[in-house]
């Protein structure tokens, strides 16, 4: 999945908030209404119940929220167990109808149909583009799921230590070939450092575009644009895997890749002056630079432009989980009134928080405070668990980001990073498969087919140097024979529209 930690540090700092000056209840519902709420957290799971932030939010909104959090890495496993118990909280985060598990719970009547409430509370409906609401409806036309929107353009930048490059006289690479040559130079110049690191395969999604493909997505087959093929059947994507294997074999890719269980280990190495180049979310720039400078005051970080003519960015489906409301919730009106409030009167509170605690005002402009500058009870881990949804229009807020850069003391770098973002997103790659169209065979035994036939090549190729292209091809053939052909056929017959997706226009 997309690493959203940096979105959450920026966007979340601006997500739920409180205003200490107001003593009056502002909530949309008249009485105090309680609900239980289960959600994942991307940040550290150190939330403490009834902190000052939570109390203030509850007081102003006129609600009482009983929050339970699960670290995102464990969320799917644990929430499945909770689902299996049949006793679910009033509001529960999940993958939505794109997942067989949640769709089946939805079909079994576990969740509340929400269309009436969307009509009654228009701010909630307005927060999500109509095209997304349409995709989330079931075959009877009912909506159950409130999506958590993300901006679909989430390039992972190839960061590098500019100070070290300059010192060794190494130039920024402009193509894949140059990149590999650059890594050789880096290894020679800084033998004790890791030349290049990344957390997991998904981090290479922008490098994949240099091969001319959108990673982990279905795309039209080269010989038949009307037939979609999955990622593991695309030659260009297989090329990427073996190219990374080659880097790993030559000691140019971090030896901890594939071994460390900590998803942020690669960024941690860049920040800790242990790696020279690393791939990370584009929004991580401020934290990388500020944290590196606590170790190396002269440390400088730059971003490599997209490598080669085909290079760009792989856009993602703009929904990353979301939540359902239990069919057994006692006061659905109360909950939707609260949700509506967070998007209207409570919007400022949701976005900015408390002045002096989560943001400051400079020259009449609100500037989010970094966690290090906040009191502990107002830091991200105490705020993230109380987040719900934010409108799509807020997902790429350049003005807010500029102030964050200025707040972090690196305002002069903002235009540079924005320019790089534009460079990366100029050419976009997509997953052509509509995630809301479900292949019955895929839903029933897709995971097992993948596990049985493709897991070894998909998970091992980069770090297991013995895996060959012939093995990969054989694995794909086995998958097809074991039932993959049925999945290919169903996806292609059920999905009528195979045109390039368009997420950003709404």
């Amino acid at each position: 999945m997309v690493n959203r930690r940096q979105f959450l540090t920026g966007a979340l700092l601006a997500t739920v908030s409180i205003s200490a000056c107001s003593g009056k209840q502002e909530g949309g519902s008249s009485g105090r209404f309680s609900f239980t709420y289960l959600r994942p957290t991307w940040g550290p799971a150190t939330y403490t119940k009834n902190g000052p932030f939570e109390k203030e939010l509850e007081r102003r909104a006129g609600v009482s929220i009983d929050v339970q959090i699960i670290p995102v890495i464990d969320y799917d496993t644990k929430v499945n167990t909770i689902l299996a118990s049949g006793d679910i909280p009033d509001v529960i985060w999940g993958s939505g109808p794109t997942s067989g598990t949640w769709r089946s719970a939805q079909d079994e009547g576990a969740f509340l149909p929400i269309d009436d409430y969307l009509d009654k509370y228009p701010a909630v409906r307005k927060a999500v583009p109509d095209s997304i609401w349409k995709m989330l409806r079931d075959d009877k036309g009912d909506t159950y799921f409130v999506p958590n929107l993300i901006w679909p353009q989430v390039p992972f930048f190839l960061y590098y230590r500019k100070d070290l490059f300059d010192k060794a006289g190494i130039a920024e690479p402009a193509s894949l070939e140059e990149f590999q040559a650059t890594l050789e130079q880096v290894k020679k110049a800084y033998p004790k450092m890791v030349p290049f690191t990344m957390g997991y395969e998904w981090h290479a999604k922008e490098i994949a575009t240099s091969f001319g493909t959108g990673m982990f997505g279905w795309e039209p087959a080269p010989d038949d644009p009307d037939t979609l093929a999955p990622w593991f059947m695309k030659e260009k994507e297989i090329d990427l895997y073996f190219w990374l294997q080659d880097l790993h074999k030559k000691g140019l890719l971090d030896p901890d890749y594939g071994v460390s269980k900590e998803p942020n280990f690669s960024t941690a190495k860049l920040k800790a002056d242990k790696a020279v180049m690393a791939i990370e979310h584009w929004g991580a720039y401020t934290s990388i630079v500020t944290e590196l400078r606590t170790i190396r005051s002269d440390g400088a970080v730059s971003v490599v432009s997209p490598l080669g003519e085909t290079a760009g960015s792989r856009a993602v489906f703009p929904v990353d989980r979301g939540f359902y409301v239990s069919a057994k919730i006692k006061d659905p009106d109360g909950f939707f009134a609260f949700l509506n409030w967070t998007l209207t009167e409570g919007s400022e509170l949701r976005r900015w928080g408390v002045e002096g605690k989560t943001y400051k005002v400079e020259n009449g402009t609100k500037v989010s405070l970094q966690d290090a500058e906040r009191p502990k009870s107002y830091q991200g881990p105490q705020i993230e668990p109380l987040g719900f949804i934010g409108p799509f229009s807020e997902k790429l807020d350049w003005d807010g980001m500029r102030t964050n850069f200025e707040g972090a003391g690196i305002g002069k770098d903002f235009d540079y990073i924005k320019g790089k973002f534009d460079d990366y997103t100029r050419q976009e790659y997509f997953d052509y498969r509509d995630p809301t169209v479900v292949s019955p065979t895929d839903a029933k035994k897709g995971t097992q087919l993948f596990e049985d036939n493709l897991q070894k090549v998909a998970q091992s190729t980069i770090v297991n140097h013995k895996v060959t292209r012939a093995e990969w091809a054989a694995a794909v053939e086995k998958w097809k024979r074991a039932g993959g052909n049925a999945i290919l056929e169903e996806v292609n017959s059920l999905q009528k529209d195979k045109s390039k997706p368009e997420y950003t226009t709404g």
Binding site: T77, A84, G86, V194, D254, G258, Q448, S460, T461
Partner: protein
């Protein structure tokens, strides 16, 4: 007289059934407080071990979470067919059995040897210090212990950093399929041998000191005493623990394997439980996970019963 005695019908020693019941009831009443003491344990097992077995039925059903277990339709052996029909099943069984077998082969003697060594230590402060240090890893979760292992043996861990800094080559302890099972077994032993030794130390303390005295009088030195007194004294405990460990043959240690596993060693390190976790639990296929659990339970029971029978036949102390 003797003829009369011979002609008389044999005396029935058993008391008539009603009287027997009465006396049993009377016995229960007489020892009611003792029975009351065991009652919580019985309730515990009924509630948490036997009643949940009702849920085993979902191994034979298409489990619908919100319709409930009883309303879900029966699908017969479909989930067992899925499991046994998996392409990976032979590999999973092989890996699981091999890892478990190595654990027993190499791991079983270690706590015994450690207990024997510790038993010979006469300085109590040293003995207690060693015991505390060796028990401690048992209380760490595998998440923590695996982190320590990766920090020591990982590609950029302490050992490899020392090797590289002294001009050597990096050794892929964790990504080399040839060494991965050895790492699993060794780290498993390191974590648990101290804890495993407790029961042997307890058994050692129950051996009659007069036996040692007699052996010494007969001229037996330390090793002879261990061979002829200590080990025979430990044999019943060893037999019971061996039988119990055979019951877990299909449990190759999910926590440990899951934490240490990586893409490079899947061929040798992917076990039944890690596969079920990915294909079953992550995808909410609880039926499949239950079917596998049932299969493992049945195999485990068969192993325990067989091993226990073998022990009895060999004249050793058995579990029942």
């Amino acid at each position: 007289m003797s003829e009369v005695r011979a002609a008389a019908p044999p005396r029935r020693r058993a008391t008539p059934a009603p009287r027997g019941h009465q006396s049993k009831a009377a016995l229960v009443w007489r020892y009611r407080w003792i029975y009351a003491l065991i009652l919580p344990t019985v309730i515990y097992f009924v509630l948490f071990a036997y009643l949940p077995m009702i849920g085993l039925q979902i191994a034979f059903k298409d489990f619908k979470v919100f319709a409930g277990m009883w309303e879900s339709p029966w699908v017969g052996l479909e989930h067992f067919r899925t499991m046994f029909g998996s392409e990976k099943f032979p590999e999973l069984i092989r890996n699981t059995l091999l890892i478990s077998f190595y654990r027993i082969l190499f791991g079983f003697p270690v706590p015994i040897i450690f207990a024997l060594l510790l038993n010979e230590v006469r300085r109590m402060w040293f003995k207690r210090g060693v015991q505390t240090v060796t028990y401690f890893p048992h209380f760490l979760s595998w998440v923590v212990f695996a982190g320590i292992v990766i920090n020591i043996l990982g590609p950029t861990g302490i050992v490899n950093t020392l090797l590289v800094n002294t001009g050597g080559d990096r050794i892929n302890f964790l990504t080399n399929p040839d060494s991965f099972r050895a790492v699993l077994v060794l780290t498993g032993i390191m974590k648990e041998f101290g804890w495993g030794a407790i029961i042997y130390l307890a058994a050692l303390s129950s051996i009659d000191p007069e036996l040692y005295e007699a052996a010494r009088v007969d001229g037996a030195r330390k090793l002879r005493q261990i061979w002829h007194v200590t080990l025979p004294g430990l044999r019943p405990v060893m037999a019971v623990l061996l039988v119990l460990s055979l019951g877990g043959l299909l449990d190759a240690g999910f926590d440990q394997v899951f934490q240490l596993q990586n893409g490079a060693v899947l061929e040798v390190g992917d076990i039944i439980d890690t596969y079920v976790y990915r294909a079953g639990l992550l995808e909410a296929q609880f039926e499949l996970a239950t079917a596998v659990g049932l299969f493992k339970g049945v195999v485990g029971l068969a192993m325990i019963v067989s091993a226990n029978w073998v022990l009895r036949r060999m004249g050793q102390r058995s579990i029942w």
